[in-house]
Symmetry: C2
Subunit: 329 residues, 2 copies
């Protein structure tokens, strides 16, 4: 059967011309990016989000960000093709609903995709923010070309974006990858209450690491209790004993989590991302523990190459796919 001649000449035709928007709704920051249909970034915008931010407020912020980027970059609104948005928390990409989030209070069964389409006036797609970062790393980061990998984000919280057989793993209830709830030796075994941090998360997220450190300092009546995880790891690198304790405990618990994930999924690579996860000191310590855990197969670790742009680039990728799907309808 002959195909229409224009399709033969330009199979990618829907992408020619136009722009897409990528958005990351973080626990403390909202970031918006404008990109061409080839995925090149042309502008970024950022605002702070509060824990109390309602969905309506966040959607208005996104709209303001889009307006400002269009003005800054002299792009007409009619040239926008789609918007891809990452939300913190359990997100059902197929129905476009944010089911629950422990960061932005009051977000429960929020129909974010439909609200965005109404507010911004273009096709929208949404995804969990860490899964979005994994999409970004797969598209143009550390996971490029890999069909089986795990992206672990360690920051305010802990979660993973998992690819198996070349596809994002979402699970039966959209809650796959919520590895902040893992129970391993060294974490709490007490069942977690709704909305509270998971066992792994409460021990080795940014907050968890700070709490470990503060417990050690309290007993010694020392002053430096306001350090964050990265500063504590830096102290450890310089030989501070308490900081080394915290680093080693954190690395061991992270190593158990990575080993367990490896045993279940056998991915080609683990990518550490997020503000805390991107620490070279933590990577080295975790790798040295994991060296001993080589059965049935040795887990391989690397740092995120996209850094804090992983989510935004994932959002742009999601928007490009949404634009293509819209054009094909």
């Amino acid at each position: 059967m002959a195909r229409p001649s224009n399709a033969l000449k330009s199979p990618r035709r829907p992408r020619a011309g136009g722009y897409v928007i990528g958005v990351d709704i973080g626990a403390s920051n909202l970031r918006v990016a404008l990109a061409t249909m080839k995925g090149s970034l042309v502008g970024k915008w950022r605002a702070s989000t509060k824990e109390s931010a309602s969905p309506d407020v966040v959607i208005q912020q996104i709209r303001a960000g889009v307006d400002e980027l269009l003005a800054q970059c002299s792009v007409r609104r009619e040239c926008l093709r789609a918007i891809g948005v990452g939300a913190p928390g359990v997100t059902d990409a197929s129905s476009g609903v944010v089911i629950a989030t422990s960061y932005l209070r009051g977000w429960k069964n929020v129909p974010l995709r439909d609200s965005l389409e109404s507010a911004v006036g273009i096709p929208a797609a949404i995804e969990n923010d860490v899964k979005l970062a994994a999409i970004g790393e797969h598209w143009c980061g550390a996971a490029w070309g890999l069909s089986d990998f795990v992206f672990i984000a360690i920051g305010t919280g802990i979660a993973a974006g998992i690819f198996v057989n070349g596809q994002l793993l979402r699970g039966g209830g959209a809650a796959a990858g919520e590895v902040g709830y893992l129970i391993v030796p060294g974490t709490s075994e007490v069942p977690v209450k709704p909305g509270a941090a998971g066992s792994l998360e409460s021990t080795i997220s940014g907050e968890g690491i700070r709490a470990q450190w503060q417990r050690l300092q309290k007993n010694k009546n020392a002053a430096a209790t306001t350090l964050d995880a990265t500063e504590i790891f830096e102290l450890a690198r310089r030989g501070n004993r308490d900081a080394t304790d915290v680093l080693q405990r954190t690395a061991r618990i992270l190593a158990y989590a990575v080993y367990n994930l490896s045993v279940v999924l056998n991915p080609a690579l683990f990518i550490l991302g997020g503000g805390v996860g991107r620490s070279r000191v933590l990577l080295a310590e975790t790798q040295s523990i994991l060296k001993q855990y080589a059965e049935p197969s040795k887990p391989r670790l690397a740092l995120s190459t996209l850094g804090e742009d992983a989510q935004l680039l994932g959002g742009i990728r999601l928007a490009l796919d949404r634009a293509d799907a819209g054009a094909a309808r």
Copy 2:
């Protein structure tokens, strides 16, 4: 484009007539089954395998089993279409190689598929035995119609067959689902040596449960040290205190493993199989612990409906697919 008229009349034509063979190479038993192209079992054969059985010996046993089944069921050899075989240990289905197994000593990088094709003279496909059981449960057992589920076999060893997005999860190195190596509170944290049982396995497999029991009885100089896991669970049901200790410890460790898998994969269902895993007493105790672990989503447990036939039926399913693939070439 017009299709050949015979294809239109009978799209399933390759299956009309003929038989397939399903095989389960277990740690202690070798089982062979003959089935029609519609998947109905017409005969079964069984022999014992020894830990020391070499690949050549096992292949000869399979050949003998096939010969006997053909004679018993008055089926001519020319009617055989394909053979699907499950092997204990890490198995690369795509290359047809058994990479390593801790049960059958000396099996390392065995090209089982090619050897079988030579010995039996029909197209062959191989798979890890627990993954094969998951294929069986998905085809006609407890996982029928589910795209995301985990089959956990607890017997001599522990492993899982995992389906995500409707596909079997194999992992980058064919070692996905080796959950016998999971490290959770209550298991050993010591790195496992090559060929040795994993942390979870050495605590709550059939052998692990017996060891737990024997440790308790040794201190008391009691007689009943030869009980197996099922008998110990039965004693617990009847109120024996030591047996209840073993049951509760086993159930708690299993609950942590299931919870961790749930947090990573978010499957619709967990299916417990294998000689130990099919215990109703263990199921009830594990479910009662898991009731408390409801965040981010409550794991749902059920027993295997195919029982010890799960692997064999998976083998038949694999052989039917192999026959179809062969006919389509």
